[in-house]
């Protein structure tokens, strides 16, 4: 089984792709073709401008027919890009698609080398290896894995909401899991949205309630995914549902329990209002919360903490009986075929830049806090006021707080320029304060964004180009008394300025969620060095990950604004739906197998398999591999001390001949 095919002579067709100038510019393709033509078993050896084009593929099929080829090697780009294309071409030519081997001479050669002779030599070596290897290829059948049509969406921000609705509208079941008591995410906290200045609530709330009422969506708030097992099409996911001590189905959101709570006043920082207002231990996250039911904060509620409380809330709820202190944390297991991860971002902690005085000066606020201040449903009912209640006469906005800075985060958070300009306009709208924006560059790349910048300028908002050095209350001149002074080098004027203001708004950037690493391990995704989830291909697979059936959308993949998040969410939904509608996925047949006659039953391989695909058959006294469970890592193959395990597509002799091949030519 693991020896080479016995059916007659090997007739190899070799094709090297110019890829326009991408390869031909650095590799002498005809020379490689001539070199390969001399190797034993090679019947055809050609170079061609674009192998992936239709004529290129047709060329292969034609040669298979005319020259009775039974092995094909294509030297072009990365197999991760076009292996499938060419396998299909080979199959269309009437050969088993696995009589094919690809050579990566673009990403691994022409694009990374500068000496034509060296690059050509390397191409010859790699091609030689593939030609030696392909001799040993055998006909293989792909196995089909059926796809469970249900989809899990993790994260109930705008991205998660949009993805869930899109999938649900296609008639598939969706589980939407959100960590907080309500869906809505950061967008729910915003007042208006750039560049159109339409109110965030007005466009978000309908989608939120649509989620709640949608027959295909199971919404689990106050819940977290804790375990993911299985593989594409067949994921088994464990969700932890935290008790909110209120029966979601019975609660009507009348909030009488809140009024009745033994805490007469709100006492604890209100998360939704970014801590600018206080809430009780029993509360409703915000007016338009979905689900619109109260939740109890277990750290704060007397009854939960001590069991000693008058439980006035229960009285208030009366015969509705929605209060339920007997609720316990529960683990629910669900089966889904695809997963969309939309876990969003975390705001940069402005305290990490002490010279900007956040946490030291009461009137230094973050952009998100200002959002709540300008919001009519916010703590000040839309009044922009200082902590002492006065109205600010002057407001300074500092951009790139924590972004584009080697000391904190190097990346641009992409939304802060627009976000700050939006807030600047709102401040002008709500007050008569002067607004000065301190920026390094204004980045307004988007439909209607540059126009929005112009509008800001026209509305008399001051722009000072320079990285702010510090915020201080050290006054040098009378007009600075009682104000905060922004010290900055105005790089356009070319000198250091001191600008006194009443309020300072920090455009804190975006960061990966604190638990991003744990989350990505759970879903078997990769992370970029900065901690954002890594897409499979930045251009061609922007919402896919390296794990089939797991997609990403929104800011967990990188900073982006609402339009981009929604677009990505739609894309992720479409990817999941495509898989679900197809109903199955063809799996690479790279599984390992045990040659039963050869196995001595030493059991060395059994503990090595992370998927418990290897078991020991006591009756036969041999190990055996369950092909359905095997993921094809090949660890057991490398470990079998008597060489009795093979791996399709990666047989020992295939790799040995590859080694020989790459070394055969310097």
């Amino acid at each position: 089984m693991n020896t080479n095919h016995k059916n007659g002579e090997v007739r190899i067709g070799f094709y090297i792709c110019h890829c326009g100038h991408n390869i031909a510019g650095m590799v002498d393709c005809p020379a490689v073709a001539q070199f390969i033509a001399k190797l034993p078993g090679v019947a055809v050896s050609r170079d061609y401008k674009y192998m992936c084009s239709d004529p290129g593929q047709e060329l292969i099929q034609q040669d298979i027919r005319e020259h009775k080829l039974n092995r094909i090697v294509v030297a072009s780009c990365s197999p991760l890009l076009h292996e499938h294309t060419f396998r299909n071409a080979v199959a269309a030519g009437g050969l088993n698609p696995f009589f094919f081997q690809m050579v990566n001479i673009r990403e691994h050669d022409s694009w990374v080398h500068t000496d034509r002779a060296e690059a050509t030599a390397k191409a010859k070596a790699l091609a030689h290896a593939a030609v030696s290897r392909v001799r040993f290829h055998r006909a293989l059948e792909t196995t089909r894995v059926s796809i469970n049509p249900d989809v899990l969406v993790v994260g109930g921000g705008i991205a998660g909401i949009h993805a869930a609705l899109t999938v649900a509208n296609s008639g598939k079941k969706v589980f939407l899991v959100e960590r907080d008591p309500s869906i809505g995410g950061h967008m729910a906290q915003f007042d208006k949205t750039f560049p159109t200045l339409d109110c965030a609530a007005c466009i978000l709330t309908p989608k939120m309630s649509a989620v709640r009422s949608h027959e295909n969506i199971t919404l689990w708030t106050y819940s977290e995914v804790v375990k993911v097992e299985g593989y594409v099409g067949n994921y088994k996911v464990t969700v932890k549902r935290r008790p909110r001590y209120v029966n979601e189905d019975l609660c009507a959101g009348c909030m009488e329990c809140i009024t009745a709570c033994v805490f007469k006043e709100g006492k604890f920082p209100d998360e939704f209002n970014a801590g600018l207002s206080k809430r009780k231990p029993i509360y409703i996250p915000f007016a338009q919360a979905v689900p619109p039911v109260v939740v109890i904060d277990p750290e704060r509620c007397l009854q939960v903490r001590t069991g000693k409380c008058k439980k006035t809330c229960i009285e208030a709820c009366a015969d509705r009986h929605a209060m339920d202190f007997s609720q316990k944390e529960e683990l629910v297991e669900i089966q889904v075929g695809n997963i969309i991860v939309a876990t969003g971002f975390k705001l940069f902690d402005a305290k990490r830049i002490p010279q900007y005085g956040y946490g030291q000066f009461p009137n230094v606020v973050t952009a998100l806090e200002l959002e709540r201040l300008v919001n009519s449903s916010g703590p000040t009912a839309g009044e922009i006021v200082l902590r002492d209640g006065r109205r600010p006469k002057s407001v300074g906005m500092i951009l790139c707080v924590g972004s584009r800075d080697v000391k904190t985060n190097r990346w641009c958070s992409r939304t802060c320029c627009m976000h700050s300009m939006k807030l600047a306009q709102l401040v002008r709208e709500h007050t008569d304060a002067d607004v000065t924006v301190f920026y390094m560059d204004i980045r307004a790349p988007g439909k209607g964004y540059e126009e929005f910048y112009d509008k800001s300028l026209k509305e008399g908002i001051q722009f000072v180009r320079g990285r702010v050095a510090e915020v201080t209350d050290w006054a040098m001149a009378p007009e600075e008394e009682g104000k905060m002074v922004i010290r900055v080098e105005d790089t356009l004027a070319g000198f250091v300025r001191r600008i006194p203001v009443d309020m300072i708004v920090l455009a804190a950037g975006m960061e990966p969620q604190a638990d991003a690493q744990a989350v990505r391990r759970m879903f078997n995704m990769s992370c970029g060095t900065e901690g954002w989830f890594l897409e499979k291909h930045p251009k061609l697979a922007p919402v896919s990950t390296f794990t089939d059936g797991v997609f990403i959308a929104g800011c967990c993949q990188g900073p982006k604004d609402i339009p981009d998040s929604v677009a990505q969410a739609g894309a992720a939904a479409a990817e999941a739906m495509a898989l679900a509608d197809k109903g199955y996925i063809e799996q690479e047949p790279n599984t390992a197998y045990i040659i039963e006659a050869d196995c001595s039953g030493c059991k060395s391989c059994v503990p090595l398999c992370p998927y418990t695909a290897i078991t020991f058959d006591e009756a036969k006294q041999k190990a055996q591999i369950n092909g359905a469970l095997c993921k094809g890592c090949g660890t057991c193959v490398a470990s079998c001390p008597s060489g009795s395990i093979g791996q399709n597509l990666f047989e020992d002799e295939e790799i040995f001949s590859e080694i020989e091949g790459v070394l055969a030519y310097v």
Partner: protein, 290 residues
């Protein structure tokens, strides 16, 4: 509590009132300081900019001697010494080249430095080793009503913010509060005092000094407390010139250890307080008796 003690040149010269107050205060707190035997210049001042290698060797020699002297941490009150010794310690650890130069030089004197010495500032050690509660117990004459502007200077928290925040240090604030003084909010606590520019480029250096004094006065402080001999000198010595250039900004600048001494009930003259050009304002009772 035992420490090796590196006074540095200032504390034997211009800044001797720092040592005059530091030693009794430490003794009073039961802290044992053993002055390094045969210490030399820390390598600060012009040296660093002229020849970093030689400067490093100078500093390293002190570290080597301290290492020989024993396991105790090396306490050094002068900000410049504190920075240079720390800097050298870091450079020796981080740059093999510097380490090689240093060890070669030390070797010729049959010395070596293994990198084990911890360089500590009195503030660090008072807050973290002795503890404010212990200090509180020793306070017999709380500095009630004395408004103090805490001035740390640029060197002890930058670039190595080892025991306090680089932008808004608070150790001295907390210490002074423990002594009963009223600590005024002083946003310039780490700004430059003018350093050696006061001598070389007065119009630049003195302006910086003036800004510090002016802000302290504006904040209603009675006195500036500092940790650095050079700062103390700059803030104390140039009032006439400053007066001519920008008008009055008259306020005394003393070492935080001198204020500790007063709070511990020690007589002012024993604490070198009489050495100031600008004497501390007569203090509200009961201190005024002193």
């Amino acid at each position: 509590m035992k420490y090796s003690y590196f006074p540095g040149c200032s504390l034997k010269g211009l800044g001797r009132s720092y040592e005059e107050s530091l030693l009794p205060v430490m003794k009073h707190l039961g802290v044992e300081l053993t002055e390094l035997n045969d210490w030399n210049c820390c390598g600060a001042t012009a040296y660093m900019s002229v020849d970093e290698g030689k400067a490093a060797v100078l500093a390293a020699r002190n570290l080597a001697i301290a290492e020989q002297a024993g396991p105790e941490d090396l306490m050094t009150p002068c900000s410049a010494c504190y920075l240079v010794l720390n800097k050298t310690k870091h450079n020796i650890a981080d740059y093999p080249a510097i380490n090689a130069t240093v060890q070669r030089a030390l070797g010729s004197a049959r010395l070596a430095y293994r990198g084990s010495v911890k360089v500590r500032h009195p503030l660090d050690m008072l807050i973290n080793d002795v503890g404010l509660d212990v200090i509180k117990e020793k306070v017999v004459r709380p500095l009630k009503g004395l408004k103090v502007a805490p001035y740390y200077g640029c060197q002890i928290v930058r670039p190595y913010a080892t025991f306090d925040d680089a932008w808004n240090p608070t150790t001295m604030d907390r210490l002074l509060a423990t002594l009963g003084a009223e600590v005024v909010h002083y946003p310039l606590k780490t700004k430059c005092c003018g350093g050696s520019l006061t001598g070389t480029v007065p119009e630049a250096g003195l302006r910086l000094t003036y800004i510090l004094l002016k802000e302290a006065v504006r904040r209603g402080a009675d006195v500036i407390a500092t940790t650095c001999p050079l700062c103390q000198f700059n803030l104390d010595a140039y009032h006439d010139q400053i007066n001519q250039r920008w008008g009055p900004a008259r306020i005394a600048t003393v070492y935080f250890t001198q204020l500790m001494g007063l709070a511990f009930g020690m007589p002012a003259e024993q604490l070198g307080l009489k050495r100031n050009f600008i004497p501390m304002k007569p203090l509200p009772a009961p201190l005024s008796k002193v």
